[in-house]
Every structure is written in C-alpha cells, then in structure tokens.
C-alpha cells in the first residue's frame, strides 16, 4: 500500500472557507465524519482539540496537521484542504496556515495505515513536496503528486 491508495476525493478541498482555527477543525472534522471515516464526530473533535492543547500542530510553511488516534476512527484517513485565506494556528514558524492535513488514526494495531500516515508525515519535511501540494489546483494534480 502507498499514500496514493489512501487518497479519498471526499477529503480533498480547494478554496475552502473557514473563519478561524476552531472553525477549520470543526468543518474539516465534519468532512472526515461525512466520508464515514469516524463513527463519532464529537469524540473525534475532542481528540483533535486535546492534541492541539498539548502543542499546536502548525508545522510551519503554512501547513497544519491536526490529528488524533481514537477508538471512534473506523478507518485511517487524511485530508488535503487548501483554505481560501490564511488563518492563525500558533505555528512553529509563526506564519499563518492555509493548508490543513487532518489525520485520523484508529486506536488499534493497524500498523499498515499508521505506516502510511508516517510516510506522509516524513514527506512533509521535503520542501518540493510541500510546494507541489500547495500549488495543486485539482484532484488530478494531487493524484499526480502521490503516484
């Protein structure tokens, strides 16, 4: 399995409108719920907020990776959401965020999918990968990056 095989078109969005960080978490978690990756939207959001309270997940270069590992996650997933305007996310480099990769991991022994999320996290350290994600304008562009 590779990262590309885990892409779910329902979790990709461009020109996505949010008011602030709290609104982004709420709306994007709702996408994850609607795509049937999590069984309990409230518990998933709680997990995300708990993780943010520990240390905010703005990783710099305009990207945030809110995430949690919870029983309510039925299937591991990630979103690729390009916001239509940057928002404050307490990022490590202090810069506002305009790209949200929200991760969902089931609370089990499912190492195959954890390995894929891990591979995605590793690729985020690559500046070329980051700029191709931020420059992608369509689902086809996204698929090309991962295939």
């Amino acid at each position: 399995m590779n990262i590309g095989s885990m892409i779910d078109e329902r979790l990709i969005a461009f020109d996505f409108s949010v008011e602030d960080k709290a609104d982004a978490i709420k709306k994007i978690a709702h996408m994850v719920f609607e795509s049937e990756k999590v069984s309990d939207e409230k518990e998933y959001v709680e997990g995300l907020l708990e993780r943010e309270a520990e240390f905010e997940t703005g990783i710099g270069n305009g990207i945030a990776i809110p995430h949690c590992k919870r029983k309510c996650v039925k299937q591991a997933a990630f979103t690729l959401v390009h916001l239509n305007h940057p928002i404050e996310w307490g990022a490590m480099d202090g810069a506002p965020v305009n790209y949200v990769i929200m991760l969902a991991a089931p609370d089990g022994e499912d190492n195959v999918h954890i390995d894929i999320l891990a591979a995605l996290a590793r690729r985020l350290m690559d500046s070329e990968f980051r700029s191709s994600l931020l420059n992608a304008k369509s689902i086809d562009d996204i698929k090309k990056i991962f295939n």
């Binding site: 995430h67 949690c68 991991a105 996290a121 590793r122």
Partner: protein
C-alpha cells in the same frame, strides 16, 4: 561520525516521523551517517542495535513521550530535546551536538 537518534511524540503518528526525517536529513547534510529510531504508534521502527551503539559517536533523543530503553545510550554523549525542535530546526540541533562533542 555516526550519530544516532530517537524520536517520539504524544500521538505517535506525525511528529515522530517528521522529526526522524528532519534529523536524518540534517545529519547527512552535515556530512555524517545517521540512524534514527522511531517510537510511534506503530511501535519501535528502525531499532538501534548494540552494534550501532558501540559504533556511534553521539545521540539525539528528541522525545515528547516516554523513551523506551533510554539506558542504552548511557555511555554516549546525548542531546535531549523536544521532538518539535527536530521538526522545526534539526540543523541547529545537529550543529549544537557537533559543537558539544568537538
């Protein structure tokens, strides 16, 4: 030189691996050999062996969750830091370590 590293984070699905990748790249960019063990949600990966430790010159523990078996590194010069530093400024950590061990 041969530099070891261990990364861990609270959830174990993202920063653990970003930090490992950051350290790996920064150590190699400084012209040295690296081996980074991850202690994440998928268990211990790329596990550091006794042979690695015998051959190593130093170690970076970039951990925000309890490190498993830290006593392995007792005899090595060790830099302890947050996993977030390994994600955000791995080059600075490597520089600091190299300066400290001369």
């Amino acid at each position: 030189m041969f530099i070891l590293g261990v990364t861990s984070c609270p959830v174990g699905i993202a920063h653990t691996f970003m930090g490992a990748e950051g350290l790996q790249r920064a150590i190699e960019a400084a012209g040295h050999e690296a081996k980074i063990e991850t202690q994440g949600a998928n268990g211990m990966q790329n596990v550091i062996t006794e042979d690695d430790i015998r051959r190593a010159d130093a170690c970076i523990l970039a951990c925000d969750a309890k490190v498993r078996n830290p006593e392995r590194f007792d005899d090595l010069p060790t830099l302890e830091c947050s996993v977030y530093e390994a994600c955000d400024e791995p080059e600075n950590l490597v520089k600091e370590l190299l300066e400290a061990i001369g």
